[in-house]
């Protein structure tokens, strides 16, 4: 039996579907094709969306832990912020939580993706959390890779990525992107998917 890939995502991933695209069905499709894990802090960040989505709790895997992984990560990041002006931004609790859950899955040998879009959280994870570097990915690259690996349907992924542009034009900022960012980062992925499979 083929094991479903395991993934952890920060809140921007879910908000893309709930708020930016207003398309929870596409999120359900992804949750049906991946084993995705979530902690209580991210759930709290999403509560206004998930309380209206009865399918979410059936499709997501709740994680609770006796060890406060976020605390270990936060302590270190607070030190960096205090000492070095380069680390002047705040990382949300949910992002630390996603990193912590990822360590837990990694320890069990089942971590495939840690989806983080926020630049500061990504930079921190990339610089300091060497064990997670192979799993660290942005939402657009996750969608692209999932398509290439056959975990998600090509038309499905292309449709999402194209609709991201529409969301930006409507004034939203899915995974912190503007129009320029879409052209620079997303458009080449759409072109690649259309050419590669077209």
């Amino acid at each position: 039996m083929i094991r479903m890939k395991h993934a952890v995502a920060d809140s921007s991933f879910y908000i893309l579907f709930y708020a930016d695209l207003e398309d929870s069905k596409s999120l359900h499709t992804i949750l049906n094709n991946f084993k995705m894990f979530i902690g209580e802090k991210i759930l709290l960040e999403l509560k206004r969306y998930v309380c209206q989505d009865q399918n979410f709790s059936k499709l997501i895997n709740d994680v609770s832990s006796d060890v406060d992984f976020s605390l270990l990560l936060k302590r270190f990041y607070h030190f960096l912020r205090q000492e070095f002006p380069q680390y002047n931004n705040w990382i949300m609790d949910g992002e630390f939580e996603a990193m912590g859950i990822s360590y837990h899955l990694k320890r069990q040998g089942v971590l495939n993706y840690l989806i983080i879009d926020d630049n500061d959280a990504r930079d921190f994870a990339k610089r300091e959390l060497v064990s997670l570097k192979d799993a660290l990915i942005r939402t657009p690259t996750f969608l692209h890779k999932s398509c290439v690996n056959g975990d998600l349907d090509r038309e499905f992924v292309i449709s999402i990525l194209k609709r991201v542009k529409g969301a930006i034009e409507r004034g939203k900022s899915p995974f912190y992107l503007d129009c320029e960012g879409w052209k620079k980062y997303i458009s080449p992925i759409v072109d690649d998917l259309m050419e590669e499979f077209g």
Binding site: F76, Q82, S131
Partner: protein, 191 residues
Amino acid sequence: MCVLLPRYTPENQKRIENLILLLLGTSKEGRLSVLHIEKELFLLQEAASDFLTDLYYFIDHYRGPYSKEIYDAIITPMFLESCWRYESSHDNLSGGFAQLNVDGKKEFQRITKKIYSEENEKVIQLLAAMDILHDLYDGLTPRELLYIVYTSKEYKRYIKKSIVYDQVVNDRTRESLKKKMLIDKSATKKG
């Protein structure tokens, strides 16, 4: 203030030695300074207070938070005496080093196999927390690690008895930390 110190029991001694074995076993080289072991288990206790608080206790000491229970278990283990070798050191910060040996590696494999086969979720979480600690702190020198402890506002209470504060908290340490923090570690081999 009255503090209830952990009571010595052979069972607690064994649990502390197993924790040290797991910490060494999950590290890249199977070798850590005594200072790293002490400080990483200090941070671990804070994050896993439900099941580590009663096991060992930290006091304000010459080089930051110090646990006699942990120190004694590193230097003179009672249950795992053939698992690691203690090497003394001439510097005044590291406290020497503990190096996992062949028996220790075998014991680590045996214990972790048991943990996974029994699906001992709590200990698997501890192992994951140790992985975080290794990523964050193993690449630092004892001086750099102590700098972080001494300058973090949460741990100010551990400065009072320090005999190495000025040696540790200075621009030289800050600069060496800065160099380490601002490189992309994912592109380099961690020490």
